[in-house]
Subunit: 354 residues, 4 copies
């Protein structure tokens, strides 16, 4: 349920309303819309409570939320959620670029890539320490060691870090080392993992399941939000369709749809979304044009020898840097800001493919 | 098969090569790549002919084309195809916008919409005279009358026209009245229709079947090209997936993929691709950012009362005009040109939804 | 609209009701349900006509049909449609097996295959004279010659024949030579073809588009029925999904669903539905268990050298014969009848794969 | 790698070969094919070891396994896996029916349903104690209490029990109370859960992810097998497609395909596979005809008031009993055995829908 409160309500009146709600053991969440204040309620809103609220002078209406998810919905929380981590703000108009390898392979590798991500203007270092792999005989990631290597590389080069967590028991250690925890596409409905992520106070990037509907993605986010963790960003990473030329079909309509249904920031992953290096650049541009709040892009210094075999979708460092300079031009036209580092172009090694 | 000819070849030498090929009853198609000249061959290229070509001083190589489609492939024809109709050039760096109603409903309706399309800066008027409808009891279009109404509206307002043709027997009459013929998504593999379109000399916009692969789309284009009609443009209009929130999933990766595999211009249809008015604007921008050569967008003066019931995806005239002004900003950043008419904003009726 | 008429109504009373309807220029279709008589109406059923009907002593109710298709719906026509061609009855409890090659290749080929289909117990000979092919350079069928060859083979061996028609202009000639006309998956929404098939009086097998919903299939059938051709059978032939191991995903739920929504017979095509020879046998059995009224199965004497390259899904003659003997066991358990010819097993050539 | 050993090899010779392999720290798995003995090897099979094996008199060949999964593959293990639990054998020619409610709701409910499953001839009682739910506010199951209730009902009525486990930490307690552990569709690639299930010694039913390929399903099974748990059965439960009439599209081709690629038993779930009660009966029959080794079917005494809202796909008890009697007729025709209990039909309450 939501209570719509007049814009003219004083802070005192608003506090009164919140108190009335909490007295009944119901949670109250205050949010500001253009035309008033929304007080969202989670819990057993009795008809007695509804009546009490309706009789309050500044309450204009008490309504049901039409969606099965509440905290994630735009109805319940009209303002955009802006996630602040250090001096990076996600969802607030600044384009955020997360770059790095599919997997952390060694301290040297992640350090070198971190340097290149920073030099190109990225704000977040991505890298997997634990890797979800289709078969048990594939490289499964370097584990906790990788978390430490990545944390050090991030700190040294002034980057935030993001890494995937695959199981509830690893949430705490991942949260210790990384700034953002990622839920992978295969785990979008791993409900115990989601519940555990609701208990921590680190931002979570929740990837859409490769065959999940928008509604299912928002319900998955609701599991995390319902646990009290408000810092959730959603990620479109491609869906599974009949078209086999691309690894997935990047569904860019997801970006405006999710922003309309929800207040949470939306990130696009053109690397997994296409599975082909040559499509990352145009689909990054298209993601920004569709309104994405940020991007997560694979980049590798030696993609053809990456340990996960995912190099085929990783950019070379100079492609990554060039792409970010393009975004610098594009972002302002689309009402976003993005500034690449002032790094001279020369620092990017000339690679054979250029 | 293709023969690669040295850049240094004289026109005389090139003519010689073409003659050698044609003597054997094989078609020869000349195209210019950055690093040489490509002579594509369709027909029975015997090993004797191959040898004769290989012995020619300016022939560098004779190779098989790796795709099942030939004339549509970038290998066979490295240069972009630019379709020129009057002073509009499609595929040559100028963004082309086709706008108009789902169906022609009356002379007044199409005239008024043509005026608004022109005023907003569009170059082509779209409108269906014959409508493919799921069920036999739905409005099936006004027929030949509609063709005439649209032709008159186009001429009066200085717009080209595009209309859908559904069956081989109507190709000639549609070609008489319209500047571009459109093949709808359900007819992408109506091979007799494609063959008939190969015989005419009017440009064709070929929509991707809603479950067709890129390969199937390019093979469908090959049917038209093989008939001798070189002016084919491809259109991404959304594919059918499990996601039901949008009418289709607009697959924007199709744009760079098709441009890589083929030399034909690629148009995006964000109206059918999403089926929701509020998504047309962001997905139009994303289409341009992905590299589209043009757009086909539904616009209606009274969408809620459109005769096809497709109004839910049609823009209001002022939304259409605003969107085109946005494209004017966006296009140059992406290496494209687009100029809206100098029409003052006031001429767009204020509509209730604004 | 439908009028429900009491079971006790006399033929005279029923005639009266039909007359009342037809006087108003509305079509009337009479059908018998378990609990009464249904008179379906197509046309402008005015409220005056509704009232007149409701006042008639044997009319129990006048209701709207809830589906967009009418003539195809079970509501409108509760009785099963049974299509009678010669002594074959489709939809009436006898399992019908249509067998033969993807394409007619020569008079000898089709004659030999007809002999084998008949010997195995099949009732209908299938074979394509006109072939829909993804690309223009593939074998497109032998054309009208093929129709004649197949008609002769059918007549000689006592089999009905079915062949695909791809375009309205070929409907008449196909109807001249074949007993059943088939609409292929790519043409399910070729509305001009459907309209033309509504005008003839030969049974039509309408294949589901490979991405068509049940609703779209039934609306496509409605186009044919609305033209006055009542003998339509529906065919499930596999849909396009993300799974690439099989050529299509044979959706057997379609069988009971279509039989529930409609009164038309439902045929299953396990050959195209799987695209793999080794799956044809289990999926034929499963089709019958799901309630199919018949099967259309590819069989070829030399599948590895078939001209369409579809041999990979064709059974060898002895596999076909063995499968039909299995159906003879299975059918009675499922309330169907099926009798194979009394042909001795020896007449099937021993083939290398056995 | 696999070593093919002659049928004529003595047990002593076979032991010798196994010893040679194990000496090198490689696992050896012996299986019997029609034409010889297969010794599968997992680990680092050096070329020295390969040579040593090839020189052994009874070794006919040493080959690579062509699939990414090994232990799950038919190449590696030609014999069918038969899982024996008490006197129930799964995969050995006896049809196994698992029936019960979506969720355990109370001791009385599960006891009554167990009685009805047994009376109808089922061998296994299904029921969820922990429920995966799309949103956090839906009923999440009764938890450990439910496990205990179900174990008691199973024991009382002489049924095995199966229940879903959702997270690694609950594997041990579920294994304590249930006879078979189920991995749900959303957890098919929850790799930590799969690894944990590899460590226990209870049979596991692994459901196909609703958008997982056959290859991905078999790789998921490989995770469990690689941990040492050999008792895995695969379950087809419907895939997600564009067709929205059914909840999922039950892909029955999966049954023969998986049986061909693997030696593991294959179970079909027509309840989730269709999501509609009226389709469960025909799709159960079709599953058996396609070769399923067993079925898992939802049945509820009061489906319209089930706590999960999944009642719409649950059979009424008398429908369940009738269906099992049908299977008793059908199974022998298809080379399977199935005997319903000798319970008189009267014991099934007459329900309103019948």
């Amino acid at each position: 349920m939501i209570a719509k409160v007049s814009k003219q309500a004083s802070q005192e009146q608003l506090n009164e309303i919140v108190s009335i709600i909490r007295e009944e053991g119901v949670q109250a969440h205050v949010s500001h819309a253009n035309d008033g204040i929304i007080v969202g309620m989670i819990g057993n809103v009795t008809s007695a409570l509804q009546q009490r609220l309706q009789q309050h002078s500044v309450v204009q209406a008490v309504n049901k939320v039409s969606k099965s998810y509440k905290l994630a919905s735009r109805e319940f929380h009209p303002e955009n959620t802006v996630i602040e981590i250090g001096d990076v703000r996600i969802g607030g108009g600044e384009l955020v670029v997360m770059g790095g390898p599919c997997a952390v392979e060694s301290a040297e590798q992640i350090d070198e890539i971190a340097r290149l991500v920073k030099a190109a203007g990225g704000q977040v270092l991505r890298g997997g320490a634990f890797k979800p792999r289709t078969g048990p005989y594939s490289f499964q990631g370097v584990g906790v060691e990788g978390l430490i290597m990545m944390a050090e590389a991030g700190k040294k080069h002034g980057l935030l870090t993001i890494t995937e967590v695959m199981t509830p028991e690893y949430v705490d250690i991942c949260a210790e080392y990384a700034d953002i925890l990622q839920v992978g596409t295969r785990n979008m409905q791993n409900f115990d993992l989601l519940r555990k992520l609701g208990e921590i106070r680190k931002p979570v990037l929740l990837k859409r399941g490769f065959s999940a509907t928008y509604d299912e993605l928002l319900n998955a986010a609701e599991y995390i939000l319902a646990g009290g963790n408000k810092d959730v960003m959603l990620c479109e990473r491609g869906i599974r369709t009949f078209e086999g030329y691309t690894r997935n079909t990047l569904d860019l309509s997801a970006i405006p749809v999710l922003q309309q249904l929800s207040h949470l920031p939306v990130i696009s992953d053109p690397s997994h979304g296409t599975g082909r290096r040559e499509l990352v650049e145009p689909m990054t541009r298209a993601s920004v044009a569709a309104g994405a709040d940020g991007l997560i892009i694979e980049m590798h210094t030696d993609p053809d020898n990456s340990m996960t075999g995912d190099g085929v979708q990783s950019l070379f460092p100079d492609q990554f840097a060039r792409l970010l300079r393009e975004l610098e031009q594009l972002a302002p036209i689309l009402g976003k800001s993005f500034n690449t580092a002032k790094a001279p172009a020369e620092q990017f090694a000339v690679s054979a493919h250029a």
